[in-house]
């Protein structure tokens, strides 16, 4: 039989680990995992050249479910971990993922500084507008009148963050909104985000069937942004402010200076790093 020496292309499932996700059946986070693996397979990135860093929460478990390098970090601290990794290993494709609470409350300060620092990495917030792992409390993206938690029986009465607008105001150079009910479109956006040079932010609406079952209806409300991607922040903010929160697509993309400190080559010995930390 004739044998080919051509490498067998990696398929999306090749990027998954053998660990079965423990998310609730129906959770939107499954679709984020699928979209990430589809995007990586489309780009044919070798597994050893990709790292996925996460924080704490249901969605942050995602690092364990892929076969790329992963670091399931400290609550809210996925972005500084990723920044450190990218600073040391510029050659790696660095993905960061987590939830709305992890990224916008506990890690909120890291988020705005990651946006303005513009290191070359992709950050995905899997937003279900609730703290699911701790059994359903209001998060920074929860609507003020959501009264589903005993902690906030009349709602928080605090206006929610608009993550994409926050990213724009903080200086992110790529901002997209996506919905887990359309995982192929999410994969397309992730490919564009990974290929973008700089900090790319993808705000993915990811319904929580357990604590926010009403979100399963989002699929009837999402719509594509009518206008094309802009590099004009004024147009971008106008579009985001005018949107009902359900607009999807790449809102803003601009070439801005990428921050990349010194760095080391992939073959750097551990002794080099030990010396760096020597007292």
């Amino acid at each position: 039989m004739k044998q080919s020496n051509a490498p067998v292309p990696l398929k999306p499932k090749d990027y998954k680990s053998a660990i079965k996700p423990i998310w609730c059946p129906g959770c939107g986070d499954f679709a984020v995992l699928n979209a990430i693996t589809k995007a990586l397979a489309w780009l044919q990135l070798p597994l050893e050249n990709v790292a996925l860093i996460s924080g704490i929460g249901c969605s942050s478990r995602i690092a364990a479910y892929t076969g790329v390098y992963g670091f399931h970090g400290v609550h809210g601290r996925a972005l500084p971990l990723a920044a450190g990794l990218k600073a040391a290993r510029e050659d790696l494709t660095v993905l960061v993922a987590g939830g709305d609470g992890d990224g916008l409350s506990i890690g909120g300060n890291h988020f705005i500084h990651a946006c303005r620092r513009n290191m070359n990495m992709t950050y995905i917030i899997m937003d279900n507008e609730v703290y699911g792992m701790t059994k359903g409390q209001a998060s920074p993206t929860t609507a003020p009148d959501w009264a589903g938690s005993k902690l906030t029986p009349g709602g928080t009465m605090i206006r929610s963050f608009k993550p994409a607008a926050l990213a724009l105001a903080s200086g992110a150079s790529f901002i997209a909104k996506a919905f887990t009910g359309d995982p192929n479109e999410l994969a397309r956006i992730l490919v564009a985000a990974i290929e973008h040079k700089g900090f790319s932010f993808v705000h993915a609406l990811s319904p929580c069937p357990t604590f926010r079952p009403e979100q399963m209806d989002w699929k009837h409300h999402v719509h594509a942004f009518e206008a094309e991607t802009t590099s004009d922040p004024v147009l971008a903010i106008q579009r985001l402010q005018a949107d009902d929160g359900m607009g999807m697509g790449i809102v803003y993309q601009k070439d801005l200076p990428v921050f990349q400190p010194g760095g080391t080559s992939p073959g750097t010995e551990v002794a080099f790093f030990e010396n760096e930390f020597a007292l």
């Binding site: 996700p21 609730c24 059994k135 192929n184």
Partner: protein
């Protein structure tokens, strides 16, 4: 461009068909894993069997295509008329409390959409070899529907069965 216009030749049709079946198999595996993790072994086993059948069908189509060079299509460029392939069940349609009858009902919906997809291609394509093959695939999907119906008739579970969980995950502590 409509999906009929996109499927302009037999190679493209085969690429679509393989993607449709492979994605269905992977989704069934994914649903089986979800139910495994949530200690619902009967439904997990049902989804696992359905994944096996989808994989067999995908392999049959791959065998038909083995001497052909099929186009490589990005997942987002298929332009399916639903968010995913017609035979791919929606992740949002499953619950840890579902029973075998619910799972089979979901599978019926998936197979029906796959049948309708092939039947439409068969009716509307202007490429004779596509219309013939699509009609064959539609007939196979119809057989699957009949088999599923027989499976539903045999199962003791009912879609009307209410399952009670005394300690649901959303119970505040």
């Amino acid at each position: 461009m409509s999906i009929i216009e996109k499927i302009a030749d037999l190679d493209t049709f085969l690429a679509y068909s393989i993607a449709l079946e492979e994605e269905a198999a992977e989704r069934h595996d994914e649903l089986a894993d979800m139910l495994d993790v949530h200690n619902n072994p009967d439904v997990a086993a049902t989804f696992r069997k359905l994944a096996h059948y989808s994989r067999l069908h995908a392999q049959e189509i791959r065998d038909l295509a083995q001497d052909r060079k099929l186009p490589v299509i990005a997942p987002w460029d298929f332009g399916w008329e639903s968010a995913e392939g017609p035979e791919t069940g929606d992740i949002g349609d499953v619950s840890y409390l579902m029973n075998t009858a619910h799972a089979l009902q979901l599978a019926m919906g998936n197979e029906q959409r796959a049948h309708d997809f092939y039947a439409r291609i068969s009716r509307e394509s202007r490429v004779p070899e596509i219309t013939v093959m699509a009609a064959e695939f539609a007939a196979e999907e119809k057989e699957h529907l009949d088999l599923l119906q027989a499976w539903i008739n045999k199962t003791s579970a009912s879609i009307d069965e209410a399952v009670f969980d005394p300690d649901p995950p959303h119970m505040p502590e």
